[in-house]
Amino acid sequence: MPGAAVAWAAVLAALFVAAAPANSYTAASADLALNGAVVIQWRGDAARGCAAAGVCEVSGSLTYRPGRRGNLELAGPNRRSLLPEFGGLLDSEPLVVRVRRDPFPGLCVDLADNDFADFSLTRVSGRRVRVGLGVGEMSAARCAGPRPSDLAPAMPSAVFGVRAFRKGRTLDFSERSTFTAGPFAGQAVSTVRMRVGRLGRSEIGEALDPGPPRSRGETPPRDRPRRDLVRLRLAALRFDYGMPPIQATLSWDMRGLADPDCRVLDSCGATGLLTYEMSHRGGAMGVVAARVLGRREDPTLQRELASLQGGGRYLLGIEQTFTDGAARVSQRLTPAVGPTCTDAKSSTLAPLHFGGVRKLVVAFRRPTDSQEADNPEDPFRTRCPGPAMLDVLGRRPLARAAVDSRELGKDIRVALVAATPFAAGGFTGAARGGPVVYLDHTRTRLRVLEYMVPKSVLKQLPR
């Protein structure tokens, strides 16, 4: 998996930069040989309200088999006082999730990714550190059960002193812990043990070595001066808009896929509703429409506006994203037999993006498009079984619309169209509802802008 290896190295390098202490220190790298597994089990718990959530019959498990190898990057004032700065497990198997609803037939089996899982390291004292087995997307995946944030506290961890990180020592993560997750209660059983291998030189440290200083004869490459530059004059209309707060709800009516495609995720005959509500704060927005001016052309606001609204060729300049607000996802799922599962959670807000060159493109992008890369929580997944965001949206935005540039300079009502129907993740479904964005025109200004640009650029611009 060279891609993952490169990404891993990059992550390690970045972490190293962040974690490297300012004072001089000794760095070393240790290979880890692993065995064992982490098995997490859960079931609906009457004391936690499983009846109301419709999951009292649900029991599930998740098996995490780390790869046989891992790595620790260690640092300390000397070789006898090394503590891990970062590290992780390599080549872990995908997580297998199995969930059943006794006494009903059927079994939901899914995989969650786990390409690399870095340890969580917390310094307890100067010579002791708590090492936790971190797992990115550990959850019930598309089956009924805990979300990643539910399981994070249940992951095994242990405190080790400096001596534990010497060759031949064993880091023992065997433990049994309990956790709760909404209407579920469960336990995590770890049999993971790691044997520390020989301490080698830290390649990450070497990689960060800036190397010998540049010799006197070498000079950094310089851009050659461009000789084909010409003056570009633009008539730029700037339209300012106020955008009132937006309340929008998108719903997907879902049905289990036809037999046998529904069996793997135990969705045969199931029906349900997935609802994503968002509340954007609104704000101010500006869009520029520009065209190239002739050498002696003297534009006026009225003429340019009339030209634009009459269908003249202008290029738009806008790249603005709004991310302030909140989102909530709720789900109801009724299996072919058995009680209806209901759940809801706060979710990641779908960013509202304005862009486009010929037309003003307004889109609620997928919620993950603004998410932190290491946030493993799927915006659409609750503790009920159901499709994930990728199943529902694929690579499409949540909703999208294009506004003709002739509409600029007026109040605009943009009715966005939700993504097309989906058939994935055990379900098929279609969206209901479409968000509406109101843009209240506040001001239009005209500016004449001048740039020096290559001739080739000039040829591509509309006049």
Partner: protein, 473 residues
């Protein structure tokens, strides 16, 4: 063999200017073939393949021990992939070869692997009337696209093909009991497409089908709801490909290669693989492997095959340095020399026999071993010979019984040996792989007892003193 052998070939070819070889050609033929053009087509996939099965008396389930077994195995390709078709030419003949791959995943986008995966749920009826369930899931991805060697313009797209060579990917195999890929391969739909249609793109290949089957001990139905939508193709001509190749070559610098070419005279013997389901109930319950134990007898057998041991390095390196890396000369081997090797065979008639106990019930089955290989890895003084039997996507040790999987990057070799390098330079080489391993993998504790013999006959020494031109040594 398309795994290590193909990697070795591509590595060797990548170090010299010239076109890439056809994957199923041998060493010299591969160097001679000329790439005419390459077509790259994005694919959107919909649907999946499901195999329902149950133990069937009329199919002989009692002899195997699968009469109480029933289950479903599903392969889902994910949503996106790509088809790459290469047109080759050699001595007036033209043909197409292709590879179909499905995207593994989109990182950091929440739950939901978008790449291909196999899920299996298999129930075993217990005497008390209850059912014990094995459920398993694994990821897989790459496929061969079988081609019609007669026609220059026709490509058959099939997900798994019959034939002697090992398929690149196992669609339905997991650690649970169930049919083998070879059992269902003839049932999988095949789509024939002409190169003109490939070039036009924007067409859908309907690969849906419903077909019953009855094989050794099992009967059932294969359902496919699969559709592959071909997108807009990108065409790369020979000139563009040569440019790409030159870029690769420049990255390596001018190279020279010395290789010893062998014939595989014989592979014989066996590896006994003892396995026990892990004792921890939380680990074994989901695979229904608590208390499971058994032995796999892996017996690769062949009298034909090929082997190479090669060393490549910068072209200004003295020839004897490369020869020293292969034991053909004495002297130091610089770090810049890359040495590698493999022995592979595709006409073997080996077998895997499994005798196991699952929940007190006996299961006995055999399956053919197809193309296979032994990796030969030279170091300064020795060559390590290692036998894995499997590529990362296809576990050849699977029978219809439940049992361990030895697929995975982290699984050690089933048999290995260390041979002095100079012995590989002899005209006839015998390698006995006697070193076994004990390890835990995929929910099982595994111990191997090998007694495997590889006999090689040296055929010639390929010494490309000059950079290889036009793909010809």
């Amino acid at each position: 063999m398309r795994s290590t052998a193909a990697i070795l070939l591509s590595l060797i070819i990548a170090t010299v200017p010239g076109p890439a070889p056809a994957q199923n050609l041998d060493f010299a033929e591969g160097l001679r073939a000329r790439v005419v053009r390459e077509i790259r087509i994005p694919i959107a996939a919909h649907g999946q393949v499901t195999v329902d099965f149950h133990g069937e008396q009329s199919a002989g389930c009692e002899a195997i021990g699968l009469c109480t077994t029933s289950g479903t195995a599903t392969w889902n390709p994910g949503t996106q992939g790509s088809l790459v078709v290469v047109e080759y030419s050699d001595r007036g003949q033209r043909w197409l070869e292709g590879s179909l791959a499905f995207d593994q995943r989109i990182a950091t986008e929440g739950v939901g692997r978008t790449g291909p995966l196999t899920v299996s749920t298999v129930g075993r009826l217990l005497p008390a009337g209850q059912t014990s369930t094995c459920s398993d899931a694994r990821v897989n991805g790459f496929f061969d696209v079988r081609t019609d060697p007669v026609s220059a313009s026709v490509l058959d797209i099939r997900l798994a093909g019959p034939g002697s060579s090992a398929p690149a990917t196992d669609l339905i195999g997991t650690r649970c009991a169930g049919p083998l890929q070879a059992d269902i391969a003839p049932l999988l739909p095949v789509k024939r497409i002409e190169s003109a249609a490939l070039l036009a793109g924007r067409t859908a290949l309907d690969m849906s089908a419903t077909r019953p089957f009855a094989v050794k001990g099992l009967a059932g139905t294969l359902h496919s709801s699969l559709t592959l939508e071909l997108g807009t193709p990108t065409l790369l001509g020979a000139a563009q490909l040569a440019k790409e190749q030159r870029r690769v070559s420049r990255a390596f610098g001018p190279q020279r290669t010395v290789a010893i070419e062998y014939e595989v005279e014989r592979v014989s013997g066996e590896v006994l693989v003892d396995y026990v389901g892990r004792a921890e109930h939380s680990e074994c319950a989901s695979l229904d492997s608590c208390g499971t134990r058994g032995t796999l007898r892996v017996a690769p057998t062949t009298t034909t095959g090929k082997a190479y041991l090669s060393a490549s390095g910068p072209s200004d390196l003295p020839r004897h340095r490369l020869r020293a890396a292969l034991g053909l000369a004495r002297g130091r081997v610089p770090d810049s020399v890359l040495a590698n090797g493999v022995a592979w065979w595709s006409d073997g008639i080996g077998t895997v026999a499994q005798a196991g106990l699952q929940g007190g019930e006996r299961c006995n089955d055999t399956a053919p071993l197809r193309a296979d290989e032994i990796a030969l890895t030279p170091s300064r003084t020795h060559v390590s010979a290692t036998y894995y039997t499997s590529n990362p996507s296809f576990d050849q040790l699977q029978t219809r019984c439940a049992g361990p999987s030895v697929v995975g990057l982290e699984v050690p070799p089933l048999a290995s040996a260390r041979v002095p390098l100079r012995r590989l330079a002899a005209s006839r080489v015998q390698v006995r792989l006697r070193s076994g391993r004990t390890f835990t993998a995929n929910g099982y504790a595994i111990s191997t007892r090998p007694s495997l013999t590889l006999v090689l006959k040296r055929k010639r020494i390929i010494d490309s003193a000059e950079p290889i031109r036009d793909g010809t040594l």
